[in-house]
């Protein structure tokens, strides 16, 4: 694996950021009643799992988590030429009337989030949809913002942000790569 680039968050830093986000989610939603997390494939799913663990530690109750694959909802379908394999969407619960927190690793143009919201709405009408991301790197192309941000990282369009996970899908580090 390419080890080039600057580490902007290490494992402990990620853990601290997620812990703060978990507390903010609880504060914002006044607990975990009617709260569900939905991770966006693939990095968002792993981070959602981490968040759920922290939330359950704090509240001592189980938190529902699902996952969404946005391939079928992309707006650049023609450009990417349908060569992308379709991943599984797993929302085995009703989102009707729920407070849904979408979780993703990096917020960039906002197009993924738009697609994820469209996908989510096909499952029902949540009471609110909130967005939690580990990194916000700017360059939005749609009117979308995150409610919970691990770290704001100003980037140039030539740079790339990579969230690395270990073999157990636990976040290891966040790397800024120059291309």
């Amino acid at each position: 694996m390419n080890r080039d680039g600057t580490i902007i968050l290490d494992g402990a830093g990620i853990k601290r950021a997620l812990t703060r986000i978990a507390h903010e989610i609880l504060e914002n939603n006044k607990g975990i009643k009617d709260l569900v997390l939905v991770g966006i494939r693939t990095g968002g799913i792993y981070l959602a799992d981490e968040l759920v663990k922290i939330l359950e530690e704090i509240e001592g109750e189980t938190v529902t988590v699902g996952s969404v694959d946005i391939t079928l909802y992309r707006d650049d379908f023609k450009g990417h030429a349908a060569h992308m394999p379709v991943g599984r969407t797993d929302i085995p619960f009703s989102v009707e009337g729920k407070n849904v927190v979408l979780v993703d690793d990096v917020l960039f143009t906002g197009r993924t989030i738009r697609a994820a919201m469209d996908a989510l709405m096909d499952y029902g009408r949540p009471r609110t949809v909130q967005l939690a991301v580990l990194i916000d790197r700017g360059h939005r192309e749609l009117p979308i913002r995150a409610d919970f941000v691990g770290r704001n990282v100003p980037t140039s369009l030539k740079e790339n942000i990579l969230v690395r996970f270990d073999s157990g899908n636990h976040p290891v580090e966040v790397v800024l790569q120059k291309s």
Partner: protein, 311 residues
């Protein structure tokens, strides 16, 4: 790993890897069919023409449903209502349809190779929904998806295919596809119904009796006796065929205890398959139909991708 084809004419043209890509996509698309809102916007604005020169209910409705669940617009044209009855040639029919700017033509035709002929002449994608006695790729893919769901793998499975192999496009596509992913095929049928040189297609063993083919089989695929296709020359009577090559509960005992019984439909109950087997616990015939929609969604999705990015 990408899907590089404009058309899906048969499993003969696809690699094992591409077959797995189609199956994986189909598996993940199955979930859409169990949602309350059974629709995704992926093929919005695309036009799909179902052009059927042969009668078909389940394949056509399955393709139509697949297209609709991906938000494409669909038009159905069947030979009985079209200008074909008035003597129009295939390329003229196709040219007229092309003037309506479709993105995909899903076609069934009684002549083997009609799709290859058309695919070379039109710019839109052609998906084969059955051509003569040549290929029926969507059926073979849904069969493979159903098998993989049951066993978790395809490699090493022992698959018995019984019936009129010569006239069966389902058999031909299954043989092409299954041998590419490492399954072993055992064919059985009256000698008049086994094509010469079929062993050349890959890991295929021709058996003289149904008993030999069923021995330890993981999957038994019964083919429909196509009375409309083969006339009456290939077997003396239906009763005799049924007696020697029909599947019943006693024969099923020869296969592996958790054998899957499959049939592409429509079944001739009491001819190639007895009712107690068709409706029995080993029957996966309705799962096949269910998986058909997801497989066809996957096929339409992957052919509508356009050009591969040049690297």
């Amino acid at each position: 790993m990408g899907f590089k084809h404009k058309d899906i004419l048969g499993l003969q043209d696809l690699s094992g890897e591409e077959i797995y890509l189609l199956l994986n996509t189909a598996e993940n698309m199955k979930e859409i069919n169990s949602r309350e809102i059974k629709k995704v916007p992926t093929l919005r604005g695309k036009t799909i023409v179902n052009l059927f020169f042969e009668p078909s209910t389940r394949t056509r409705t399955s393709f139509e449903l697949a297209a609709k669940r991906l938000s494409a617009d669909t038009i159905n044209i069947s030979a009985s209502t079209s200008a074909v009855q008035k003597g129009e040639t295939l390329s003229d029919t196709a040219r007229n349809i092309l003037a309506m700017k479709p993105d995909i033509i899903v076609m069934r035709h009684s002549i083997s190779g009609a799709h290859h002929y058309l695919a070379k002449r039109v710019s839109c994608s052609i998906v084969n929904a059955g051509d003569g006695a040549h290929e029926h790729p969507s059926q073979a893919l849904l069969d493979m998806l159903t098998m993989r769901e049951r066993f978790g793998r395809l490699a090493g499975l022992k698959v018995a295919i019984v019936g009129d192999i010569t006239h069966s496009r389902v058999a031909r596509s299954n043989i092409c596809g299954l041998t590419k992913v490492g399954a072993k095929i055992y064919l059985a049928g009256p000698p008049t119904m086994i094509p010469q040189g079929v062993e050349r297609l890959g890991a295929v063993t021709v058996c003289k009796t149904i008993q030999e083919a069923l021995d330890g089989a993981d999957v038994v695929m019964m083919l429909r006796i196509q009375l409309e296709r083969q006339g009456k020359t290939l077997m003396p009577t239906l009763r005799e065929y049924s007696r020697y090559f029909g599947l019943n509960r006693d024969l099923l005992g020869l296969a592996s205890p958790d054998v899957m019984v499959m049939h592409p439909g429509p079944m001739n109950r009491g001819v190639e398959i007895s009712s107690d087997v068709a409706d029995g616990p080993n029957s996966y015939i309705l799962q096949q139909v269910e998986n058909g929609v997801a497989v066809r969604m996957s096929m339409l999705y992957h052919v509508s991708g356009g050009e591969l990015p040049t690297e």
